[in-house]
């Protein structure tokens, strides 16, 4: 893929929605990385964290960084919805990036998403760890089985075949953000987003992304019991 450079004026139109739950150890680094790369429109949603995430975030408060606080924990889906609703009310918001707070995503992959959107090829771009050989090799075996199962279930329920259905790295334009309705609070929101894309015939595409697996992020990852819960919630939606 030819390198696409995001210019400074476009960076001012890109808003990052970052749900945070008990990430005081890593959130500072995530914010710093984004700010160093010139991205200042950071919308962080503290989803009822019991640690010091809030104070840690406020240490990096600069123009453009906004902290929204859920008074009780509601789940990643609810936090994303709060952030997206905020971005939709910002006049200078052109693209909304959903970005994980555990440091797994790379800012260097963003240009691939923006290139697709600028070329009007789609309204939402989804990241896939399975489209990049180096990233594919690093996915823990248990996670591969879970994710492949999720692909199959997504295909049955939503009639969409993707290579990675539960990747938190997505970029969408305002049109897609307005159309996608996230009602599910927890991790099942990822499947719900795919379902919405299918139902509302939103133009989508996938791009390869690198996922940095650390012991910290692996410990926070989803368990098999979550996968079963997600499947049942989507079935009875």
């Amino acid at each position: 893929m030819k390198d696409f450079k995001i210019n400074e004026s476009l960076k001012k139109e890109i808003f990052f929605v970052i749900p945070v739950f008990n990430e005081e150890k890593v959130i500072g680094k995530v914010i710093l990385d984004l700010q160093k790369n010139g991205f200042n429109n950071l919308i962080l949603i503290n989803d009822g964290s019991s640690d010091n995430s809030s104070n840690e975030i406020l240490k990096y408060k600069k123009n453009g960084l906004v902290l929204l606080e859920h008074i009780i924990n509601r789940g990643q889906g609810a936090a994303l919805r709060t952030g997206i609703d905020y971005c939709l009310n910002q006049k200078n918001c052109k693209y909304i990036v959903t970005f994980d707070s555990d440091g797994q995503h790379r800012i260097s992959d963003l240009s691939k998403f923006i290139k697709k959107l600028e070329e009007n090829k789609c309204d939402i771009v989804l990241g896939s760890r399975f489209l990049l050989e180096e990233s594919k090799k690093l996915v823990p075996k248990k996670k591969v089985i879970l994710l492949k199962l999720a692909l199959f279930i997504t295909w049955i329920l939503s009639n969409i075949w993707l290579t990675d259905t539960h990747n938190g790295y997505r970029v969408m334009n305002k049109k897609a953000a307005k159309n996608i309705e996230i009602l599910m609070d927890g991790f099942e929101h990822a499947s719900e987003i795919i379902d919405e894309i299918s139902k509302k015939k939103i133009k989508y595409c996938e791009v390869p992304v690198f996922i940095d697996y650390t012991d910290y992020s692996k410990a926070k990852g989803q368990k098999i019991s979550n996968a079963i819960k997600i499947f049942l919630k989507m079935l009875f939606r």
Partner: protein
């Protein structure tokens, strides 16, 4: 009747329909306990062979219906709570 009066006068808490429903269930169970032959009369009236089995199957149906109804109510409340939490977060942005 005395129970209803007690609820209205002393507790000032009454959801009449719910109280009447459960009172009805308890009264029926008490009646069947005191006069078991009522079951035979009931069975003969509606042409049911085994009334006990009928009651058990009906109870299972009612219980599942109630579980489903409660699930829908809980879901509605979950959506409402999340909406409230999100609105508060947007109002109090830092």
């Amino acid at each position: 009747m005395f129970y209803l009066v007690y609820l209205i006068k002393f507790t000032k808490r009454i959801n009449l329909l719910v109280e009447l429903f459960f009172m009805g269930i308890y009264s029926m169970v008490l009646l069947i306990f005191l006069f078991p032959s009522i079951l035979n009369s009931f069975g003969n009236l509606f042409g049911i062979d085994s009334v006990i089995n009928f009651i058990i199957y009906l109870s299972i149906f009612v219980i599942f219906f109630l579980i489903f109804y409660l699930y829908r109510r809980i879901e509605k409340q979950r959506v409402g709570i999340t909406k409230l939490v999100r609105e508060i977060a947007l109002m109090k942005k830092k």
